[in-house]
Amino acid sequence: MHRRGVGAGAIARKKLTEAKYKERGTVLAEDQLAQMSKQLETFRTHLEAFASKHKQEIRKSPEFRLQFQDMCATIGVDPLASGKGFWAEMLGVGDFYYELGVQIIEVCLALKHRNGGLITLEELQQQVLKGRGKFAQDVSQDDLLRAIKKLKVLGNGFGIIPVGGTFLVQSVPAELNMDHTVVLQLAEKKGFVTVGEIRTSLKWETERAKQVLDHLLREGMAWLDAQAPAEPQFWFPALFPELHGQDGAPEAAPGNAEP
C-alpha cells in the first residue's frame, strides 16, 4: 500500500465511510423488506382464516360489504385495486365488483341510444338486478358506485354526477362541466327544464343557458319539445326511464362479435 497525502487520505476515508454507510443503508432496507415479507405471510394466514369463516358474508350481505369497504378506506387499503391482491384472491371481493363492472358496462351500452349515456343510479340498479336473475346476490347502490369508480380508469368516460339526493351515472366520454351538472340537477325534479327556469333559478344569461342545453342536446342526453305550451322544454330521458327511444336498436354488447 503506498502512502497517501493528508488531503487524499481524508478524502479516501470519507469515501470509505460513505461506502460503508450506503452498505448499511441497503442492509436497513433489506431488513425491513424481510420483515414486511414475514408479516405479509402472517397477514395472509389471518385473512385465510377470516375468509374461511366469513367469505359468504361478503357475497351475501351488502351491509357487510359496505362496512368492509369503509374500513379498508380508513386504513388506506384498496381491496379492489388488483385481482392479484390478497383481498380479491382470498375473499373473492374482487370478482364480485369486477363482474358487476362488466354488467354495468353492458347495461349502459344497451341503453345509450335512448338516454345519451346518462342513467340514474336507481334505474341502473334495477336493470343490473334484472340481468343478474332471481337467484343472484343482492346488489346495493353503494356496490354499484364502487364498481363504477373502478371503471373510470378504462377511459370510457365513466363518471358519477350527484343530483337531487341520488346520482346520475355517465358512461360516455362527453365533457360535462359544472354548468351541465347544475342544469341536470335543476331538471331532476320534473325531468325537464326550460331556459326560463334556468334564468330564474340560476340567474344565468339566456346565452349561457342555451349553450349548455344545446351541448346536452347534441350529446343525445336531452330531447327538445319545441311544441310545449309556454316555452320549449328540454327533457332528459335518463330522468324518465319509461320513455322509449325512437332512433333504432341499441348497439351489440361489447365483447361479442359484431354482425
Binding site: 443503508g25 377470516f50 388506506g76 371503471l151
Partner: protein, 365 residues
C-alpha cells in the same frame, strides 16, 4: 312462509313503520320490526280486497298498496283503533317487490286460509316429508335462523375489526419503508423495488413513493400483458384491428369467469405492451378513450377508407358510420374525429347531431 328481508317501510295511516321484515303465510301478512322482534303488525289475508303495484321512480321505492275491508268488531288490538284510510302501503327499499307481489297475489287467489285452520301441522302428500305449515312453527324457525344470522354477523364484524387492525400494521410498515427509500434517495436496488411493489400489490396499498397504486411494472402485469397478447389477437382481427378498453375488459373477464381482472390490472398490463414488444399496443385518443390496436393496425390508413365512405354517402354521423362499417359508435366517432383532425373531414355540429362532410376546402383549393 315466504320471507322478504328487504322491506323497508310500512305506511299505515300516514305513519311510517321503518326498517322491517315482511312475512307472508297462507293466512296473514305480517310486518315485523327488524330491531325489536316483539313488535309485529299483522293483517289477515281475508281482509284484503285487492292489491296493486306502484313501480319505483326517481327517489321513490317500489310499493305494493294493500286495500282492506273495514275491520270487524272483534279484531285483535293494533297500532291504531281506527283510521280513515282503507289501505296500507308496503315500501320495498331495495328489491323483492316483484317477487313478493307475485306470491301475495297467489295467496290471495288461492284463499288457502278458508280450508286450513291455523296452528296445525299438515302432512304433505309426499311420503317422509313433514311440513309444519302452522304459523307458530314457522315463526319459531325464523326466530332461530335470525338469531343464528345475527350471531354470525356480529362475529363477522368483530373478526373484521381484528383483521383490519392487522392490515393497518402492514400499511404503517410500508409507509416506513417508503420513507427510508425517500431518505436514501434511491439507494434501493432494482430487485428490492420489484419486491416492494409486489408486497404493495398484495395488500392493495398505493405506492407511497410514486403514488400510483402498486405502480406499473410488477411481474404480475408483465405476465398479464403477455397473456393478453395471446387472448386478444383473434378478437382484434375480427374487429378490424381495434377495440376499446371497456370492450377488452368485458371480453377478457367474461372468458375468465373466475379470478377476474380489475380495471387497473388491465390498464397497467396494457401500458407494458409496447415496451415488451408485443404485437398489440395501447393508444389513448384526445378524448381520453383508450383502445388496444394490433401493431399492424394503422388508424391513419383507416381514415383514408373512412373518407371514401363518407364521400360516397355525402355526409355521415358517427351512428350512421358505425352501422355501415360494423364498428362500435365509440370507435366510429374517434375515427371520424381523427379524420377531421387530419383535415380530411369537417363537421356540421347542430342540435340534430354531429355530422361529418368531406373537407372540400382541402380538396378543391
Amino acid at each position: 312462509t315466504k320471507h322478504c328481508p328487504l322491506l323497508g317501510l310500512l305506511l299505515l295511516c300516514r305513519v311510517k313503520f321503518d326498517s322491517g321484515v315482511l312475512l307472508l303465510s297462507t293466512h296473514r301478512l305480517i310486518w315485523r320490526d327488524q330491531k325489536n322482534h316483539e313488535c309485529c303488525i299483522a293483517v289477515p289475508l281475508s281482509q284484503i280486497v285487492f292489491i296493486e303495484e306502484q313501480a319505483a321512480g326517481i327517489g321513490k321505492s317500489a310499493k305494493i298498496v294493500v286495500h282492506l275491508h273495514p275491520a270487524s268488531s272483534n279484531k285483535d288490538p293494533g297500532p291504531f283503533q281506527s283510521s280513515k284510510y282503507s289501505y296500507v302501503k308496503l315500501s320495498f327499499k331495495e328489491h323483492g317487490q316483484i317477487e313478493f307481489y307475485r306470491r301475495l297475489s297467489e295467496e290471495i287467489t288461492q284463499r288457502r286460509w278458508e280450508s286450513m285452520p291455523t296452528g296445525q301441522a299438515i302432512r304433505s302428500p309426499l311420503p317422509g316429508r313433514i311440513r309444519a305449515v302452522g304459523i307458530v312453527g314457522i315463526e319459531r324457525k325464523l326466530e332461530e335462523k335470525r338469531k343464528e344470522t345475527d350471531k354470525n354477523i356480529s362475529e363477522a364484524f368483530e373478526d373484521l375489526s381484528k383483521l383490519m387492525e392487522k392490515a393497518k400494521e402492514m400499511v404503517e410498515l410500508s409507509k416506513s419503508i417508503a420513507n427510508k427509500i425517500k431518505e436514501k434517495q434511491g439507494d434501493i436496488t432494482e430487485d428490492e423495488t420489484i419486491r416492494f411493489k409486489s408486497y404493495l400489490l398484495s395488500m392493495g396499498i398505493a405506492n407511497p413513493v410514486t403514488r400510483e397504486t402498486y405502480g406499473s411494472g410488477t411481474q404480475y402485469h408483465m405476465q398479464l400483458a403477455k397473456q393478453l397478447a395471446g387472448i386478444l389477437q383473434t378478437p382484434l382481427e375480427e374487429r378490424g384491428g381495434i377495440m376499446s378498453l371497456t370492450e377488452v375488459y368485458c371480453l377478457v373477464n367474461r372468458a375468465r369467469g373466475l379470478e377476474l381482472l380489475s380495471p387497473e390490472d388491465l390498464v397497467n398490463a396494457c401500458k407494458m405492451l409496447e415496451s415488451l414488444k408485443l404485437p398489440l399496443r395501447l393508444r389513448i385518443f384526445d378524448s381520453g378513450v383508450m383502445v388496444i390496436e394490433l401493431q399492424s393496425h394503422n388508424e391513419e390508413e383507416m381514415v383514408a377508407a373512412a373518407l371514401e365512405t363518407v364521400s360516397e354517402k355525402g355526409s355521415l354521423t358517427a351512428d350512421e358510420f358505425a352501422k355501415l362499417v360494423g364498428m362500435s359508435v365509440l370507435l366510429a366517432k374517434e375515427r371520424l374525429l381523427l379524420a377531421e383532425k387530419m383535415g380530411h373531414l369537417c363537421r356540421d355540429d347542430s342540435v340534430e347531431g354531429l355530422r361529418f362532410y368531406p373537407n372540400l376546402f382541402l380538396t378543391q383549393s
